[in-house]
Symmetry: C2
Subunit: 225 residues, 2 copies
DNA sequence: TTCAGTCAAGAGCACTGCTCTCTGTTTTGC
DNA sequence: GCAAAACAGAGAGCAGTGCTCTTGACTGAA
């Protein structure tokens, strides 16, 4: 993202943003599947072919929206984390921020955490932004430095190996039990938010506020915060 | 599903099945989004408009596939459960069957557990088949009759109320703590399978066999089996 | 002032879901 | 046993899609 120098570059950056904004608006209305380049261009008062000057294909536009969504939820998580203080409280704040983001941006949530779009291959540009949210959680864990749990289910040699290499990758100086539990917590909360956003809790824990609050505490215990 | 009486009804049932089979084949190749009525009819050697005699719209065909998918995974779970014996072993078998089904039918899994299709409203016909898998798990819990856990995170009054009414709905004579944990286990394992099928574990716990095995045990402990 | 680079526009291709009409066939009621 | 009704497939057509290619206008730097 370099600053635009010429007037031309400035209007180009402006229009690129407008296209994404309009696409996001449509995403919220008709979903990724219904997103139409022609409809976007129509709304912006331009002809559809002109849009290809900015995004070479529908997939490229989708990728831009995906990157924005990852950054958006990542930023929400980062901003919710005070960075210091009681780890349990930090953990709680990050999770609430994530859920709130998911509930206010259900279609963008579905875009990044829902079923993969067939034939669409996420390019490398997405991995950086995608890591921001999990990294915010890892930071809390790293600062808290939880002890190995007293009671834990047995872990196979294969699982220990995977957990160890993941621990090294994240520079998380924690026992394999904790790393495994952290993945578990992340998976569990992903499942919970997805169930809620995708409407699978209908008829049981709906509204899910009370359950979510309960679960955050349980997961904090689980990873030893 | 009544037995076809006339010859016409027989070929109609036959062709309906063929349409669904071909649609399922395409689903695996191009996903729900790419499923095309014209392509299906073309493959079957008929004209696209003829297909509307069997399914009044694309959505109706999709609904039929969704119902079939729910029944398929539900049946897999039911058949994996011996119905008697060690509850922990039954629990384990059902979960493995579910994961295996998801891995062999990723697109059908995405269809029923992935992001909702915008504009598509699941009709009543789906709720029965959709309940089969969770019901298989409830059956194990009902037979095992687990005790209230000694240590548990505090539950709010609101959550207790929701858990109690869910318990009554499922005719599960268990303490609210257990019901809540059962929902938690179901959510957690849904999250795990989704992460795996949707490719979010890439670079961490992949292959996920060892982790899944570990998690099943952990979840069995969690719900008190 | 020239002129390459950039832009929007328009026509057009191959595809989609879906509707309507037409013709032929099968089942049903008398 | 036969006519009426129900059903089946074919074909044309509508409005929409992503995407490509060409054309003519505009811009900014040499």
């Amino acid at each position: 993202m370099t600053a635009p120098r010429t007037a031309r570059e400035r209007v180009r950056a402006e229009l690129t943003r407008e296209i994404k904004d309009e696409a996001r608006r449509q995403l919220a209305e008709v979903g990724a599947h219904g997103l139409s380049l022609r409809a976007v261009s129509r709304e912006l008062g331009m002809v559809s072919s002109a849009l290809y000057r900015y995004f070479p294909s529908r997939d490229h536009l989708l990728t831009a929206l995906i990157v924005d969504a990852y950054n958006s939820v990542g930023e929400a998580a980062e901003q919710a984390d005070p960075g210091t203080g009681d780890p349990r409280s930090r953990w709680r704040k990050i999770w609430h921020a994530t859920r709130d983001w998911a509930k206010t941006h259900p279609h963008e949530y579905a875009l990044i955490f829902g079923s993969p779009i067939p034939g669409y291959q996420a390019p490398r540009d997405t991995v950086g932004p995608a890591a921001r949210l999990p990294m915010a959680l890892v930071a809390v864990l790293r600062d808290a430095d939880p002890d190995e749990p007293a009671v834990t289910a047995p872990m196979s040699a294969e699982l220990r190996k995977q957990a160890r290499s993941l621990s090294e990758l994240l520079e998380l100086d924690a026992p394999v039990e904790i790393v495994t539990r952290a993945v578990g917590a992340w998976t569990h909360l992903y499942g919970t938010i997805s169930f809620e956003v995708f409407g699978q809790y209908v008829g049981s824990f709906e509204p899910a506020d009370a359950y979510f609050e309960h679960l955050i505490g349980q997961m904090a215990d689980f990873v030893g915060l």
